[in-house]
Amino acid sequence: MKIVVLVKVVPDTYGDRKLNLETGLADREASEAVVDEIGERALELALSYADANEGTEVVLLTLAPEGATATIRKGLAMGAGSAIHVSDQGLRGADLGLTAGTLAAAIRRLEFDLVITGNISTDGSGGMIPAMLAELLDVPHATGLSSVEISDGVVSGSRPVESGVQQVSANLPAVISITEALPSGRFPNFKGIMAAKKKPLEVLTLSDLGIIADDPEAASSIMLTVTEKPPRAAGVKIIDEGDAGEKLADFLVENRLA
């Protein structure tokens, strides 16, 4: 079984995330780049399957700027067998379409059984890459899974939707995306960190994948304007002296909120 885990390198949500107001791109100086937490959960799912099933190969795949190598090594230290890093100047500010096309081209080179992704990334909030990949790779998608079972030739799980919970299953090869209901990623141990240094990390460019960044056939999404909203200021703060509930009630009534 070969499992490809897709992780996105994003600005740390714990930091002060900034957009460059001229280019509309993420300001990479402003905050630290980390593997999106949901990506670590996706990797954990693959690794726990590999722990229990000998002969499982776990490949990490990311499309990210040059500097992301250190972040990818962390995934190798957690236990992935190898990593592919797609990096190219032509991918600066890539929209969902170009991102999906490039990732699909990288996945196509591997003989994969299962692709695991996060349900939604914390920087883009697109939540569409998994379905786009399934379409491009011509395989089923089973997205937003809050529990997953991987067995011979089939992946299945629970899929919470608006009106209830579905139980879904797909024949492999397939693309699945998972929610944060799945366990968080393991911490790399010393042995893992040492081993990661020797694991294969392939860096690919667009031309390696035969992708043209500005294909005239494909429409792309462009940012027209970016404006920053002024940060919110703090208002009144009172310390409870036994009557704060009353005061709060007054405040809500005065503001016609109760």
Partner: protein, 328 residues
């Protein structure tokens, strides 16, 4: 068959479970009506098409295309095939779909198939000289961004609960759309457990008032206090991720980066520290009230009215004070 309007906005709405149109339908049609003529594509289980079409017209669809799925156990792919056929027929200026899980799958697969541009997680739409543009609220509301397609109709997914505009009802004009199946491999829905709308409380998404609780409640039993205040105020119930992880409340109530984003008139945060990821989902609310026993809790940095105190004392007193004032 008559021609479709030249400024058609194709709105995709699905029938949910055993019920009617998905919640987002009214907002999607409301947004569409502001930038063109709303044409609805309703995707339904067998036999539910005409009821759904009537409902879509009431919500403002000038024209309705009905597609009844032949096999409701196939996940996603039939909707993509239907959307493909609908776009061929309608030639819309834009396609609006809910930013729900199924909506995102549909938008993503369709865009990949047709090589259309996607504008994801929009909180509004507008029209400029060149076409339809999407408005986004990025990084937890810290930035406003507009986006558009380089050419062709953009596929815009709209954040649930973000559109207040409603379209005026239209006389029903519907037709059944013929769809050629793509036969692409798809996952199967083996079973479905419907969540019966147990609560009479407002839906969290798009709620005007939200009362949210965090880890400070300490247990599921004590979290019931959140519901009591919510009911007193006519508010929806929200929660921090820590409260969800601790099992006080189902995940669907999570507010924040990886939960629901709300922009309510009133947001009451009880026993919530105000971690940056929580704030990302609520800081665009008009009025923020917080109760926390730690005066350094970051939630106070954005609260219009903050109370440093024990929520188990403050909240019951607040509830009885509000009830007493109601009786006056």
């Amino acid at each position: 068959m008559t021609e479709f309007p030249r400024d058609a906005i194709l709105v995709v709405v699905e029938v949910q479970g055993s019920g009617g149109l998905e919640q987002a339908a009214a907002g999607l049609l409301g947004a569409a009506a502001a930038v063109g003529t709303p044409v609805a594509l309703v995707l339904t289980p067998p036999g539910a098409g005409s009821a759904a079409a009537a409902e879509a017209a009431v919500l403002g669809a000038a024209r309705v295309l009905i597609v009844e799925t032949t096999d409701p156990s196939v996940l996603g792919v039939p909707s993509v095939d239907a959307l493909f056929a609908a776009v061929e027929r309608v030639r819309p200026d834009a396609i609006l779909i809910s930013h729900s899980l199924d909506g995102r799958d549909l938008a993503g697969r369709y865009a990949a198939r047709s090589r259309a541009a996607v504008c994801a997680d929009a909180v509004g739409v507008a029209r400029d000289e060149e076409g339809v543009v999407a408005h986004h609220s990025v990084y937890g509301g810290a930035y406003n961004v507009t986006s558009a397609s380089t050419f062709g109709a953009p596929v815009i997914t709209v954040r649930q609960g973000s559109i207040e505009a409603r379209a005026t009802a239209q006389p029903e004009e519907s037709e059944t759309l013929a769809v050629t199946p793509s036969e692409k491999p798809a996952a199967r829905i083996d079973s479905f457990e419907e969540e019966v709308g147990a609560s009479s409380r407002p839906e969290l998404r798009g709620a005007a008032k939200v009362v949210a609780g965090g880890r400070g409640f300490g247990s599921q039993e004590q979290f019931a206090l959140v519901g009591q205040l919510a009911d007193t105020l006519g508010a929806a119930v929200g929660a921090s991720r820590a409260a969800v992880d601790a099992g006080y409340v189902p995940q669907s109530h999570q507010v924040g980066q990886t939960g629901v984003s709300v922009s309510s008139q009133l947001y009451v945060a009880l026993g919530i520290s105000g971690a940056i990821q929580h704030r990302a989902g609520m800081q665009t609310s008009k009025m923020i009230v917080a109760v926390n026993k730690d005066s350094d809790a970051p939630i106070f940095e954005i609260a219009d009215f903050g109370v440093v105190g024990d929520l188990f004392k403050v909240v019951p007193q607040l509830i009885s004070a509000l009830q007493a004032r109601k009786k006056q």
